[in-house]
């Protein structure tokens, strides 16, 4: 069995297993989830590996229960997580918002079926002025790193964080080096509930409304929610992550995220080798969206192609930040495997290549006519 002991050698692991092991290396001690494809193997592996590492995994009765169990565990200061795919995360939205507003750390794994959860990941469906740090790894080694980073960020900011994966990340097996990543030291968790506050007159409280105690009033909803909103403004400044290549001498820039970006990278390299002036840009953090970096990358670009496996969700963020909105062309689309559980034929290098070339050709026709 693959247990979470840092091994110098490479292990061939299914993505979901690698993510689970990475979570345990980060210190995750509580996991609760409800089976749904393609998230299920993460839950299965946690149910075996967490108890072996002094933790608890609960096969919850619903996504709502799983998320609230994780919230409860997180409220004690333990590293806690839950997960599902987008369909199950829909049920967790209230809890994710609640954890953001009452400042409980927890990590949420969306091992999604496709890229149709971009709005869900970046906008969310809960109430209130909250945001969720959402990272979209392009492959399994990066997902392993992001997993540990998300636990760290969740604690640093006392907020839920989200990994947005997909079937390729969940089900592909690759050789990975598992190791614990060390981050900056975190502030003490003096807010965590441990039961010792009772009778002191200063008992602790985790409450979205932050009313405090009669003897020690809190900020209340007005002051607290302003403070939470200001915290998310700060995160928006500090936690933007992105990657780009060839933007400086490109006419065409392709913007994509997650697994799709790995395909774009591949196709762009092919087209560069054939002499095309083309580059790519990849938001790694979907929220906060790396807007300023995209604005910089799109300066002087003739056409900005947006490729995502949905009807055009990230497209809205690209429109907000690309230097020239009129240069944007959408070349993605909805493409679903006949099982409904994974990507359809659009996520394929030859198909993507054809769409890029068609977009370039169309522009050339337009500019010469």
């Amino acid at each position: 069995m693959n247990t979470a002991v840092a091994k110098p050698s490479m292990q061939l692991l299914e993505g979901a297993t690698a993510i689970a092991e990475s979570a345990i290396l980060a210190g995750c001690r509580f996991f609760a989830g409800y089976p749904i494809s393609p998230f299920t193997p993460l839950l299965e592996h946690m149910s075996r590996a967490l108890p072996e590492n002094g933790g608890v995994c609960i096969n919850a009765e619903s996504e709502i229960e799983g998320a609230n169990m994780a919230l409860g565990a997180g409220a004690t200061g333990a590293m806690a997580a839950t997960g599902s795919c987008g369909q199950g995360l829909a049920l967790m939205q209230e809890t994710i918002a609640e954890a953001a507003l009452n400042e409980t750390p927890m990590v949420v794994f969306n091992l999604a079926r496709n890229q149709q959860d971009y709005f869900q990941a970046t906008r969310g469906g809960g109430w209130g002025d909250y945001r969720t740090i959402a990272l979209a790894p392009k492959d399994i080694p990066e997902a392993v790193e992001h997993t540990q980073l998300l636990f760290h960020l969740s604690r640093r900011y006392r907020a839920p964080t989200l990994l947005y994966g997909d079937p390729l990340l969940a089900q592909t097996r690759v050789g990975v080096h598992l190791r614990r990543i060390e981050f900056d030291e975190l502030p003490p968790q003096d807010w965590a509930l441990d039961g010792t506050g009772g009778g002191t007159g200063e008992s602790r409280q985790i409450w979205t409304w932050a009313m405090g105690k009669a003897t020690n009033p809190g900020l209340g909803p007005d002051g607290h929610w302003q403070q939470v909103a200001a915290k998310f403004d700060r995160i928006a400044e500090l936690e933007q992550r992105s990657e780009q290549r060839y933007a400086e001498d490109a006419d065409t820039l392709v913007v994509s995220f997650g697994s799709a970006a790995k395909f774009i990278e591949h196709v762009v390299e092919e087209l560069r080798a054939e002499g095309h002036r083309i580059g790519w840009f990849r938001p790694i953090s979907l929220w906060p969206f790396p807007g300023p970096a995209l604005a910089g990358a799109t300066a002087g670009i003739k056409r900005v192609l947006v490729f995502e496996l949905n009807a055009g969700q990230m497209l809205e963020d690209v429109r907000q930040y690309a230097r020239d909105r009129d240069a944007i062309r959408f070349i993605g689309g909805v493409s679903i495997h006949e099982s409904g559980l994974s990507y359809g034929p659009l996520l394929d290098a030859p198909e993507i290549r054809a769409r890029i070339l068609a977009a370039i050709a169309e522009d050339s026709t337009r500019s010469t006519s």
Binding site: M10, Q11, L12, D139, L168, Q171, T172, R173, V174, G175, R241, S242, E243, Q244, R245, S259, K262, F263, E265, H266, E269, P290, A293, S339, L347, D348, A349, P350
Partner: protein, 195 residues
């Protein structure tokens, strides 16, 4: 913001495994990827299979290299293919690169298009497995043959990986599977690619 590394030319074996559920396609893919990992290589196994346990399409791709892999989990092209069943072999002719190795289970797969462009090797895997008294092991016959043709890993590594991967309720198949690997290798002796 980080900057990406430039692409390295692919020096990776990219293998398509095409079959139907029940032929053990996923298990032979795992066996090969695990054996390669155990010998210090980089490996990737991407599975793509239908919902049915038996009879539906069961495809996988295995990539093996000596450096960190750059291949996509959905291969746009491949350097080799093992076709265990004719039923879902559609993408092979387009995806398999010119000159690529095409290993066919000649018991069930008709000789078809592509022969002129590919290096075709035929092994009557289903018939051989039945003869061995292990009809479930036709996939291992093909894997044994493929490994001999390519010299990817020592055969003993395949046996070790396969044995470790079998779930407890299938452990009794280990001996026959190992025999199948050897039989497959023997069936293509002398057809190895010149090195």
């Amino acid at each position: 913001m980080t900057s990406a590394r430039p692409a390295a030319p692919p020096a990776e074996l990219q293998l398509l495994l095409i079959g139907i559920g029940g032929q053990g396609i996923q298990l032979i893919g795992k066996t090969l990827a695990q054996a390669a990992t155990n010998t210090g290589k980089h490996a990737m196994l991407a599975a793509d299979y239908g919902g049915e346990m038996r009879g539906g399409p069961s495809n996988a791709s295995v990539v093996i290299g000596t450096e960190p892999l750059r291949s996509l989990p959905i291969l746009p092209s491949a350097t080799a293919a093992i076709v265990a069943s004719h039923k879902f072999a559609g993408p092979v002719p387009q995806r398999l690169r010119e000159g690529g190795l095409l290993l066919r289970n000649s018991s069930v797969v008709d000789s078809g298009a592509g022969r002129e462009h590919h290096r075709v090797v035929e092994v009557p895997a289903t018939a051989m497995a039945t003869e061995l008294g292990a009809p479930q092991a036709s996939g291992f016959i093909l894997l044994g043959a493929f490994n001999r043709l390519t010299g990817l890993v020592p055969e003993a590594e395949l046996v070790t990986a396969m044995t470790a991967l079998l779930p407890p309720y299938r452990a009794q198949h280990a001996t026959k599977n190992a025999e199948a690997l050897s039989a497959g290798a023997a069936a293509v002796a002398g057809q190895e690619a010149p090195r």
